[in-house]
C-alpha cells in the first residue's frame, strides 16, 4: 500500500538533481518536491525495515526507471501534456496486453477501467487518489501497467468462477461418474496415491513447485516458464523431467515404506490413478505442502 514515508529518508540534493535531470521531469513541469516525494515513497516501499546506507540508497535510486516515474508523477498531478503522452504511448500497450489475455476482447474492458483509476476518479479525504501513486519506478511503466491489468483480469476470472451458476447439464448429470469396473480396491489405491502425492509435493523445493505450477496449471510453454524463472527452456525441460522422476520415486518409496505396499499393489495405484485421477485439490495440496515445509527437512535439488 502506498503511503507517505513514516520516517525521514534523506536523499542528497546532488543525487536528486541528477535524477531529476535524468528523468527529464521538467519536460512535464513536475515540481522537484513532488518528484522527491515519489522517490521517498519508492525507497520506503523497497526498504521497509529501515533506511539503507547512502551507497545502497544511491544504487537503488539510480536503478529506478526515473523517466517513467516522472511521467507518473505528472499524470498523478493532472498535467495535461503528460496525460496526452501517456495515452498516446501506453494505450496501445495496454490494449495489446488485454488482447493477449483475452483475444475475444473481454480484457479491454478491464484496460479501460484502469484509466479511471489512473486518473483518480475516486477521492479520499477530499484528495484525488491516482493509481499512479502506486508506481514506484522499480519496473518500467509499461510492465507495471501490464501487472495491474493481469491482477484485475485474474481476480475477475476468480470472481466469475466463484459466482458461475451450475449448468443445466451439470445439474442433471450424476455427480460422480460410475466406475468403469467394479473394483473394490480402486478407491483405496487412489486415496493412497493422492496421499503420496501430497507428501511428495511437500518435499519439493519452492522453485520446483513453482515450475510445476507454471507448466501444468498455467499451461505455459517451456520458454515462458523459463522467462519467469530466469532459466533457459532446456533447463526448464530438464528440471521438469527431474522433478517428475523425483516425485515418482518418492511416491513409490512412500507407498512401499509407509503404506507397506508390494510392487504389484504400487503398480495398481498407478493404474488406478491413470484411469481415474479424480478431483484433486491442488490448492489444498500446496497449502498443506507449504505448512509442512518448515517441519520437514529440505532435500537437495
Amino acid at each position: 500500500v502506498s503511503r507517505q514515508p513514516s520516517r525521514a529518508i534523506r536523499i542528497s540534493s546532488g543525487l536528486v538533481t541528477r535524477l531529476y535531470a535524468q528523468a527529464q521531469a521538467s519536460r512535464w513541469s513536475v515540481a522537484e518536491q513532488s518528484f522527491v516525494s515519489a522517490l521517498e515513497r519508492s525507497t520506503a516501499k523497497a526498504f521497509p525495515d529501515g533506511t539503507p546506507d547512502a551507497g545502497r540508497l544511491e544504487r537503488y535510486l539510480t536503478a529506478l526507471h526515473v523517466e517513467d516515474l516522472a511521467l507518473a508523477c505528472a499524470c498523478a498531478d493532472g498535467v495535461e501534456p503528460a496525460w496526452d503522452h501517456f495515452v498516446r504511448e501506453y494505450r496501445p500497450i495496454l490494449y495489446r496486453a488485454a488482447d493477449a489475455l483475452d483475444p475475444a476482447g473481454g480484457a479491454r474492458e478491464q484496460a479501460d477501467a484502469i484509466y479511471a483509476d489512473l486518473f483518480g476518479l475516486e477521492q479520499r479525504d477530499g484528495e484525488r487518489r491516482s493509481l499512479f501513486r502506486y508506481f514506484h519506478g522499480r519496473s518500467s511503466l509499461a510492465t507495471w501497467l501490464r501487472a495491474v491489468l493481469a491482477q484485475r483480469c485474474v481476480d475477475r476470472i476468480r470472481s466469475e468462477r466463484r459466482l458461475a451458476p451450475l449448468d443445466a447439464e451439470d445439474s442433471i448429470a450424476p455427480a460422480v461418474a460410475p466406475p468403469l469396473t467394479a473394483d473394490p480396491d480402486r478407491p483405496r489405491f487412489v486415496a493412497l496415491a493422492r496421499t503420496a502425492l501430497v507428501k511428495c509435493l511437500a518435499l519439493l523445493p519452492d522453485r520446483d513447485r513453482l515450475r510445476l505450477g507454471f507448466y501444468y496449471r498455467e499451461d505455459l510453454t517451456l520458454a515462458e516458464t523459463g522467462r519467469l524463472l530466469g532459466e533457459h527452456e532446456a533447463t526448464v525441460s530438464r528440471q521438469l523431467a527431474r522433478t517428475r522422476k523425483r516425485i515418482r520415486q518418492d511416491v513409490e518409496a512412500y507407498l512401499r515404506r509407509e503404506c507397506r505396499l508390494g510392487e504389484a499393489e504400487i503398480a495398481r495405484c498407478f493404474e488406478c490413478t491413470i484411469d481415474d485421477p479424480g478431483p484433486i485439490d491442488l490448492g489444498e495440496l500446496l497449502s498443506r505442502a507449504a505448512g509442512r515445509k518448515d517441519s520437514e527437512p529440505e532435500r537437495s535439488t
Binding site: A98, A100, G213, R238, I280
Partner: protein, 482 residues
C-alpha cells in the same frame, strides 16, 4: 494382482497425467502476502533482489493466484515488443559479453586446433571401416548417408520436444558434418571436389570460388578418396592459412573448365550401387547417435502428448541409400517410415523399411531376410484389402495434420527373440510368435497407432494418435480401451 506390471514409461506417463490433473484442479486463495503489481512488474523486469525474488518465489509456489498473475504477465509480455530500457546495464553488458566471448573462443580454437592431424572420432573410424570392402567409396553412397542423416535431423527437429534430445541431435549432426562430407547430391560433391582440384592445380587462378575452410577440408577429403596426398601442413596463424575469399562466389566462367584430375574423373561416373548389407554396415554406426536422439524425441513426443513414450520401436533410419532420382521429400518420407526393432538378444532384430517391408536378421544385422509381405496370393489379397479399407480412412483424416496412409507400420517392439508386435496406421497390427511368420491381428478401429508395448505374445498395449490406449491380453483376439 494386476494383470501386468506397468513399466517405467507407463508409470512416468501415469505420474505426468496425475500431475496434470492435479494442477488443473484450480483453487485460488487470496492472501495478504500475494504479490502486488509493483513486485509482479519488478519480477517480470528482473529487478528484484535475490532475497526479494526468493521470498516472492516461495509465496508464489503455493499461491495459484500469484501463479496466474505471473502467467498473465508473461503472456502479455510476449505480445509486446522488447523493452530495452527494462534491462539493467549489467545485463546489457552480459548480453554483449556472451557472444563476444564465444566469438573469441571460436577464433582461438580455429587457429589452435590442428585439424589435419585431429584424432579420428568413432564415427569417422566406423565410416572408414564400413567403406573398406568397397574399392572406392562413392559420392553417391556418402550423399545417401548424409541425406539419411539430414532426414533424421529434419524429422527430429519437427517433432522434438526434449531439449536434451535436441542437444544430442545437434551434437550428432555436428559430428557427422565434421567427419563425413555431407553433399546434398553426388553431383554437388563432385562439383565441389572439382572446384577444389581446380584451385589446387591452378595457383594463379584469380577467381577462386569462395568456400568456407570447413568445406575446403571436406573437398580435400573427397579428393583424397581416390588419390593419396601428403598431409597438409597445419596452419596455425592467419598468415599460414590459405587465403579465403570473403566475397561472394563469382559466376561460373563461360569457358569450359580445365580437365579434371584423374582422381576426380574416377569419381564422376555414378558408382555401382552398394549392396544392402554394405549400406547397412556402413551406416549402422553413423546412425547410432542420430538414433539415440530420435528415440529421445519419441519419448519427448509421447510425454508432450500426455500418453507416455510407449513403443519399443527404435527410430533408426534404416532406409536404403537414396537413388539419385529420388526427391528429398520421398527420401524423407521413406526414412521417416523406417525403424529397427531389437529383441533382448542383440543378434536378433527386425527392421521395417519404407513402413511396409519387414526384414529379419539373426546375426546382428549383417544379413537380412525379407519376412513381410510374403509373395503369395493370399498376402497380396490382404494387402489389397488393407489398401481399400484405408481409402476411407485416408479421406477421413485428410483434413487433419496429414493424410493417413494405410498399411504403414510406425512402431514395433520385440519382448523376446521370437515375438514381435508391429503397429501402424489405420489399425494395422502385425504379430509374429516365431520370429519369421507374420499374421495380421484384428483391431477394432481404423485409427493410426503410434506406439506399441508388449510383454509377451499375448499382452500388448498400443496407443492411438488420438491418445487412446488399447490393451489386449489374449494375443489380439480382443482389445479393451483403457
Amino acid at each position: 494382482v494386476p494383470e501386468k506390471t506397468m513399466n517405467d514409461r507407463e508409470r512416468d506417463a501415469s505420474m505426468e497425467r496425475l500431475l496434470r490433473e492435479a494442477m488443473a484442479a484450480e483453487v485460488r486463495t487470496e492472501s495478504p502476502q500475494c504479490l502486488d503489481a509493483e513486485t509482479l512488474a519488478a519480477w517480470s523486469d528482473g529487478q528484484l533482489t535475490k532475497a526479494e525474488r526468493s521470498a516472492a518465489q516461495s509465496h508464489a509456489s503455493t499461491c495459484p493466484r500469484c501463479q496466474g498473475m505471473l502467467a498473465a504477465m508473461v503472456r502479455t509480455g510476449a505480445a509486446l515488443p522488447v523493452d530495452a530500457s527494462s534491462r539493467s546495464p549489467l545485463r546489457k553488458w552480459l548480453m554483449m559479453l556472451g557472444p563476444a566471448v564465444a566469438t573469441a573462443a571460436a577464433i582461438a580454437l580455429w587457429f589452435a586446433v590442428d585439424r589435419s592431424q585431429a584424432p579420428e572420432t568413432a564415427l569417422q573410424r566406423s565410416t572408414q571401416t564400413a567403406q573398406e570392402p568397397a574399392a572406392s567409396p562413392s559420392p553417391t553412397a556418402l550423399a545417401g548417408q548424409a541425406a539419411n542423416e539430414k532426414v533424421a535431423v529434419d524429422r527430429y527437429r519437427e517433432g522434438a520436444q526434449s531439449s536434451d534430445a535436441e542437444r544430442r541431435l545437434a551434437d550428432a549432426r555436428t559430428k557427422t558434418e565434421a567427419d563425413a562430407p555431407a553433399p546434398p547430391t553426388a553431383n554437388a560433391a563432385s562439383q565441389r571436389a572439382q572446384a577444389q582440384a581446380r584451385n589446387l592445380g591452378a595457383p594463379n587462378a584469380q577467381a577462386a570460388p569462395a568456400e568456407e575452410p570447413r568445406d575446403r577440408a571436406r573437398a580435400e577429403r573427397e579428393t583424397q578418396t581416390g588419390q593419396a596426398q601428403p598431409p597438409r601442413a597445419p596452419f596455425r596463424t592467419a598468415a599460414d592459412a590459405p587465403p579465403v575469399a570473403v566475397t561472394a562466389a563469382p559466376p561460373p566462367p563461360a569457358t569450359p573448365p580445365p580437365p579434371r584430375p584423374a582422381s576426380i574423373q574416377q569419381q564422376a561416373p555414378p558408382p555401382p550401387q552398394q549392396t544392402q548389407a554394405q549400406q547397412s554396415a556402413g551406416n549402422r554406426e553413423d546412425r547410432t547417435v542420430v538414433t539415440e536422439a530420435l528415440r529421445d524425441s519419441k519419448v519427448a513426443e509421447g510425454f508432450a502428448a500426455g500418453r507416455g513414450a510407449g513403443g519399443g520401436g527404435r527410430g533408426i533410419i534404416a532406409g536404403a541409400a537414396p537413388r539419385p532420382a529420388d526427391s528429398l521429400d520421398s527420401v524423407a518420407r521413406r526414412a521417416a517410415l523406417s525403424f529397427d526393432v531389437v529383441s533382448p538378444d542383440p543378434l536378433v532384430r527386425w527392421r521395417v523399411t519404407d513402413g511396409r517391408v519387414v526384414q529379419g536378421s539373426r546375426d546382428g544385422g549383417t544379413t537380412w531376410t525379407a519376412q513381410y509381405p510374403v509373395a503369395d496370393p493370399q498376402s497380396r489379397a490382404l494387402d489389397a484389402t488393407r489398401v481399400d479399407a484405408g481409402a476411407a480412412e485416408r479421406k477421413r483424416s485428410a483434413g487433419g495434420l496429414g493424410v493417413s496412409e494405410p498399411g504403414i507400420l510406425t512402431a514395433g517392439i520385440a519382448p523376446s527373440a521370437t515375438v514381435v508386435w508391429l503397429a501402424g496406421r489405420a489399425g494395422l497390427i502385425l504379430l509374429t510368435t516365431n520370429g519369421s511368420v507374420w499374421q495380421r491381428v484384428k483391431f477394432p478401429e481404423a485409427v493410426d497407432l503410434v506406439t506399441v508395448t508388449a510383454t509377451d505374445a499375448r499382452t500388448a498395449t498400443v496407443t492411438a494418435a488420438d491418445g487412446r490406449t488399447f490393451v489386449t491380453s489374449n494375443g489380439g483376439a480382443s482389445w479393451a480401451i483403457r
